[in-house]
Subunit: 424 residues, 2 copies
């Protein structure tokens, strides 16, 4: 086995960073849920440790310039008018999500209708409550780093079911943001790579994959590898940029044309201490308005040596600030934090950021999404092997799609396909 | 100047074909409108001739298995219930299209709303008449080779305005299908290439474009060209597959991730004579149902030596038949023609087809489209130069977008940019 990696590091959408004070901060994927059994297994095997994300206190929301402090954890600080409306809609979505086939979303009973509807349209058809509309926009930004019109209802429902439930997707305790890895998640890939030794070849961007009757030739910058099978692990949007011979089947090629990556800039803002905790806040701030950070969470280190807020510019917000300087984005992020957490937020000790849209070998996070019409037209090509080429990556996972856990499971699935193919 | 062409022929989405009897048929772009002044100018300069597309008689429609013959040319055979409804909606669309900024669609007054709405959603919100809904689906298939949910209302309106009006888009006489070129449109590019001589390098797929302070290096299969400026003329979906150094700005890269090409298989079915003409039919059949050819037109040669129907499998119909054999598609096409034009259609003398989705260097026709949310997020990157790289092609045209005329005009615009850049 040979692993060809375009970057000069492993871990892809996981990336380790540091504050000036030496504290490790995750610049990419960072959270693990209780149900992420394969990732947790790897973490244990590799001698890494997890710790619970900070989640004491209540979250806040910003809506029409007004910060509201939640009294009930599950309501995110929604007003008494909006809360039951959001609950009702969440119930409808949970029922619809139940109907989705995870192994073949295009075969879901009402697939054609669910796929021809954008999530924005579903929201518009189901409520006129402005705060509820804003809630769902904020949720889509937080989960998909995209806007509600940019994904089909079917994609939304698939993703909800794939990741257990809406509640799991947006929760820390008991949810997808529950645990972190001491020192950062990128260590998982680093330690795996150490174990693999020199089969991992860095700085080898794959540019061309040639299949013949007897094998497959993979051309990378300055290297050519011949193998019996190949697993492509980059997201479809990037996989489409590899040159294939013979050319890919039309449906697979078309899929790569319409599964764009989300838009996100991840920031970490550090303070001498996690001052918001003293005010009874858990650090979760949801921005229902346009402008500034879309969402924040407490991302302070395990040892409590300083306070860190992780803040995301997502979807339209990320695109709006993409051309600014880091310094300008820092100012905007601080402005958001002052709004959320008060004047103490005005004086951070550090700010670091990662623009995933600008990363040539990722081109957006958290992952690829399918817009209206795409699942039913091109979905079957998402994971189906093409001759000796197999597809893995978080986008191709049935369960825990979009997460590290989905990526690992998709790798196991692709490995099983390859082993089956090699033995036949 | 050097022209690098990936194929072993010029003309791209224009392609000449022949029936067994020697009659030329266009396997790609074929029609010219009166307003296509630049293309008509080239046709004249190059010594080619145009002739009027056949348009005597009336069109027919198929809806719920029933063929209806139009009494009024403008109504396409719609029932008395559907016709005024379609008219009313066309009026609304014309009014909305008026508001669109062609040079900057994202600055259109209601851009955010128009862009967050799919065309399917607009139809659903504006009628409950089943035949009207089916009409708009057929129209979107015919114009975009896509489904109504796969494009934003803003994209639909931009395209309508860019091509003058809905009526021009769907009309033969007085419309975008008015004229043809004797012998085929591919001759335009062929004769231009002849005039250019050996600066046109065939079989040179561009794989990499490197910009430096002093110039640009273009790497093609087996060739490297150094220049001061480069014009990339492939559609965004394909342009994104070129490797750029430095990497493209995020917005331009994101655009290439979400402007997928349409889905179409073009067929030409030949008969000893154009028998439908005797029945007073002009050959235009619009399929409002699912299954079979989406639309047909009379495509008989100028000299009337035989009868030819051009038929398109478009959008979902194209995807549904993509994995069939040509023989199976031929049977389906004939079945459609028998339904449309009667039993005489059962015995064609020839059938040829072109699957544009499978063409590695086009990957779909008629062109790229923008789904919900894309124009307002990524539109500015559609034609904006990136350093020494300029963008041309039918997708980048303000006027006659999607047509040969738009392609030529975009080339003139890019050439003017380059000349401006070279002199500065």
């Amino acid at each position: 086995m040979i692993v060809l990696e375009a970057r000069d590091r492993v871990a892809g959408r996981n990336l380790g960073g540091h504050l000036k004070n030496g504290v490790a901060v995750e610049m990419g994927g960072q959270w693990i849920a209780e149900g992420h059994t394969e990732v947790l297994g790897l973490v244990g095997e590799l001698g890494l440790e997890t710790f619970a994300s900070y989640d004491d206190g209540v979250p806040i929301t910003l809506f029409r310039g007004q910060v509201t402090r939640a009294t009930d954890l599950s309501q995110l600080g929604l007003t008494p008018t909006a809360a039951p409306e959001v609950d009702r809609m969440a119930g409808l979505l949970a029922e619809l999500a139940e109907t989705v086939s995870l192994s073949a979303p295009w075969l879901t009973e009402e697939a054609a209708t669910l796929d021809a509807t954008t999530f924005a349209e579903w929201v518009r058809s189901n409520t006129t409550e402005p705060e509820a509309v804003a809630y769902w926009q904020a949720l889509v930004r937080g989960v998909f780093a995209a806007e509600p019109a940019e994904l089909s209802l079917l994609h939304f429902l698939f993703y909800v079911k794939s990741n257990t439930s809406l509640e799991v997707l947006i929760s820390t305790t008991g949810g997808a943001q529950e645990q972190r890895v001491v020192g950062g998640t990128h260590q998982i890939s680093e330690r795996l790579a150490e174990g693999l030794g020199d089969v991992v070849r860095l700085g080898r961007r794959v540019t061309r994959i040639v299949q013949t009757d007897t094998g497959v030739h993979v051309h990378a910058d300055g290297a050519e590898v011949t193998a019996r099978r190949v697993i492509v692990t980059v997201p479809p949007a990037l996989a489409g940029r590899i040159d294939y011979e013979p050319a890919l089947p039309a449906q697979r090629d078309a899929l790569t044309q319409q599964m764009p990556m989300g838009s996100v800039i991840k920031t970490q803002i550090a303070y001498p201490k996690p001052f918001w905790r003293e005010a009874g806040l858990n650090g979760l701030a949801s921005n229902f308005d346009d402008g500034g950070l879309s969402v924040t969470l407490d991302n302070s280190p395990h040892d409590g040596s300083c306070g860190v807020i992780v803040g995301f510019f997502e979807g339209a917000e990320a695109r709006a600030v993409a051309d600014l300087t880091p310094e300008q984005r820092k100012d905007l992020a601080i402005e958001s934090l002052v709004t959320f957490f008060g004047p103490e937020a005005a004086d951070p000790i550090d700010y670091v950021e990662q623009d995933w849209m600008a990363e040539e070998f990722t081109r957006g996070c958290y992952g690829g999404r399918l817009g209206a019409g795409a699942w039913t037209s091109f979905g079957p090509a998402l994971a189906a092997p093409v001759g000796r080429i197999h597809w893995a990556g978080a986008e191709s996972a049935e369960v825990w799609n979009g997460y590290m856990e989905g990526a690992v499971r998709s790798g196991q699935r692709a490995a099983a396909e390859v082993l089956g193919g090699l033995s036949s």
